[in-house]
Symmetry: C2
Subunit: 435 residues, 2 copies
Amino acid sequence: MTNETEHSAVQRRNPLALPGNKEPSSSTSIAPERWLLRKVHEAVGEPPLRLRLWDGCTVGPESSDMMIELRDRGALYRLLRHPNLAFGDLHSSGRLRIHGELTRVIHVLIDSMNAQAHGTSPAWTGWFKRGRKLRVRKGANLTAARGNIHHHYDLGNDFYRLWLDRAAMQYTCAYFESPDYTLEQAQLAKLEHVCRKLRLQPGQTVIDAGCGWGGLARYMAKQYGVRVRAFNISHEQVAYAREAAREEGLEDRVEFIEEDFRNISGSCDRFVSVGMLEHVGPANYKALAGVVSRCLHADGLGLIHTIGRNRPAPLDAWIEKRIFPGGYVPSAGELMRLFEYTPFSVLDVENLRLHYAQTLDHWLERFRAHREEVARDYDEPFVRAWELYLAGSSATFRSGGLQLFQVVFAHPRNNQVPRVRKDLYHAPAAPSETP
Amino acid sequence: MTNETEHSAVQRRNPLALPGNKEPSSSTSIAPERWLLRKVHEAVGEPPLRLRLWDGCTVGPESSDMMIELRDRGALYRLLRHPNLAFGDLHSSGRLRIHGELTRVIHVLIDSMNAQAHGTSPAWTGWFKRGRKLRVRKGANLTAARGNIHHHYDLGNDFYRLWLDRAAMQYTCAYFESPDYTLEQAQLAKLEHVCRKLRLQPGQTVIDAGCGWGGLARYMAKQYGVRVRAFNISHEQVAYAREAAREEGLEDRVEFIEEDFRNISGSCDRFVSVGMLEHVGPANYKALAGVVSRCLHADGLGLIHTIGRNRPAPLDAWIEKRIFPGGYVPSAGELMRLFEYTPFSVLDVENLRLHYAQTLDHWLERFRAHREEVARDYDEPFVRAWELYLAGSSATFRSGGLQLFQVVFAHPRNNQVPRVRKDLYHAPAAPSETP
C-alpha cells in the first residue's frame, strides 16, 4: 500500500508538461495579422462566434456571445502552423481563451468546419484539415502500450474518483435508457445492457479485456454468477479493482490480471471488451482478433464496445499527443474488418453516440465541481486541458464526428445464438433508485 | 392485361436452358475413376455421406443414409473440372442424384467443407475452393441490370405466388419473432419490424428502392399512413404491385415506378431498400450511396436489408450463372464501406441469419407441394434447379456461410435519432391471427 501511495504522489504532477502561461502581448496587431485572423475565420467556415487578437481587434458577428481570444502574437502564429495541436495547447496554457460555454463553442466550431468541408471550400482552407492529420496511426508494441496506458490511466485513482460515477467507476459511455437517469443509473444500465447482450448464465466463464477499475467484471460476477478473468495493463486500476473485489467478497469469482490483451490465455464462454479497442491501434487488430478466436468457445458470445467513426481518420492530433497517446478510433468499416480476421459473425451493432455526449456532459460538470482540488493537485494548465478534452469530446459526439459502437458476435456455425433482441428490453436496465 | 398474359406465357419455358437428362453410363468405372472419387470425398473433408459412381462403386461411411450419386462418367469429369457449377447443373439435369433430405445433405457437405477449409488441408483440396471462385464480380450497367432482373423476377407472378406467403408476397427474409409463426405471420412481422426501425410517422414520404411486388410499400402506406414512391425494374412485379394497390384503394398513397435505382429522383423522409443490394454489385455501391445521400432529408432515417457474409467472397458460381446473374453478396465490411461513400452514421445492425434459413424451409416446402404444377409449366430440370437453390440457400444460412443484415442509418448530425431500441419491441410484430 505504501508503494502505491508513493506512486500516486509522484504522479501528481501535470504529466502534460505544457508550457506555462505568458503575459498578453502589449504591442498592436499589424495589418497582415488582422488579415490572417479574417482568413482563419473564413477557413473554419465563418462560424457564429468571434475571434479576437491580443489588442482587441475582432472578426465575426458582433452579436455573438461566443468568442475565442488569442492573447499574444505567438499564439496566432502557432495556431497557423499547427492549428489542431496548438488550439489545445494554447487553451491549456491560457494563451487562447474561450468565452462562452466551452462545449457549445466547440460544437459551433466543429459544425461550421464540417459544413465548410462539405461545401465548396477555397484552397486555403485545407489548412485546418491538414492540421488534424499530423499524426501517423500505428499500433503500440507491448512496452509502448504500457507507457501509453500509464500516461492516461495512472493519473491516480483519486483523480478519476472525483468525477466518475460513484456506482461502478466507469470511464466509458453510459447508457441513458431513460434520458433522466442519473450518471450512476446510466452506468449501471450500461453494465446491465452489456450483460443482457452477452446473455450471461450462472457458472459461465468470462474474459474481460481491458477491464478499467473492474466495475463490469464485478457486476457480472455479482449479478449473473459468472466467473471472470479480467485483464488490464494499468497497475493503479488493477490494484483498485482487486481491493474492490475483496471488499465485495467476490475474490473467488473475479480475478484481475495485470497483463496485456495479447497475453490473454485460457478459454471462455463470453468475451467482453469495453473501451479497450480505442487503445489497441489498427496494426494490432489482427492480434486482438487472434486472441478472441483462440479464447472464445464455439458456442460462445462476444461483445466489443468502442468509440468509432463513420469514415477512417486519424485521432485528433492534440488528443493523441496530450490525452491518449497511441489511441486510434476505427471506422465502422475498419471495425467490421477486424472481424474478418476472425471466423465470427457480427450479430448486432448498436450506436450509442448521443449517450456518450450525455455521459461527457456529466463528467465535465462533476470535474468542474472539483476544479480547485484538481488544480491544487496538478496545475491550472492540466485542468484546462481536461476541460477542453471533456467538452470537446462531448461536442464531437454531438456533432456526429464520433460514434459509439457495441458489437455482439459469435461463431458462424453457432445456431444457439439469440434470434431476436426483445429479451434485452424485458425490464428497465437500471435500478430505480440511485445506489 | 393481354400483353402481360402473353408475356407470362412466353416466359413459361425453362429459362435456364439446361442440358437434358442423360442415360446412366453402362460401362464399369476404371481404377483411376475410383481413385478420383476417393479424392473428391477427401477434398470436401470426408463428410458423413456416401459418394457413388454410375456402376455402384461407393466411398464414405456405409451407415450413412445420405448419398450423392454420379449417374454417368461425364458427370464425374464435369464435377472435377468445375465443381461448383457442375454440381448444380448435374443435379438439375438429373445426372447427379442426391439421396436423403436435400437441405440436410447440403448442410452436411458445407459443414464438412468449412471444417476442411479451417483445418490443415492438403494442397489438392484447393480444387473445390477454386471452383467456387469462377466468376469475376462486377456491377451491372442499366441494360444488363434489366436483363439480370428479368431473368429471375419475370419468371411469372403466378410462379412465385405458388410458394411465397399469401399475406404480402415477400421474396426476402421473414422475421420469426416467435419461432412458431406461420410464414404469413413472419413476413408481416418483417414488414412491421422494418417500419418500426424506420420510426414511420403519418404523412412522411418514403422511397422504397427495389420494391418487389410492393408488399412493403402497401403495408407502410396502409398501416402507417405514409406516402411511398416505390422503384423496381421488373415489369411483371410493377404490374402486380400496381394492381394490388388499386384493389386495396392505396393508389393515392403508393406510386410504383418502373425505373432503375440510379434514376430515383426527389427527396424523402425515409429511405428503405429490402433485398435489392444483392443485385446491385459492389461497383455500383458508390452510385447507390450517392442516390441515398441525395434523396434522404437531413432529419431522415434509412434502412437497408440485405444478404451478407462474414468475409468478402464471390457469389457461388452456379447461383450466379443460373439463378442470380449479376448478383453479389457483400461482407459486413463491404456493407459498412458503402456507408463511407455517404455522410451517414450507422445506427443499428441486426443479423437475422437463422430467420432466413427458416424462411427458405417454408418456401421449399410450399414449392414442393406444387412440384408437378411447376414441372408442367416449365420442366423437370427447372424444378430440380429451384429445389437445389432453395435447399442449398437454407443450408448455407444454417451453416453460417450467409448472413442477413438489416442496417439503420441517419445523417451524422441528426440528433433526433432514436436513442434506444426498446420501442421496437413494445408489442408483438405480427398479428396473432394468420391473415
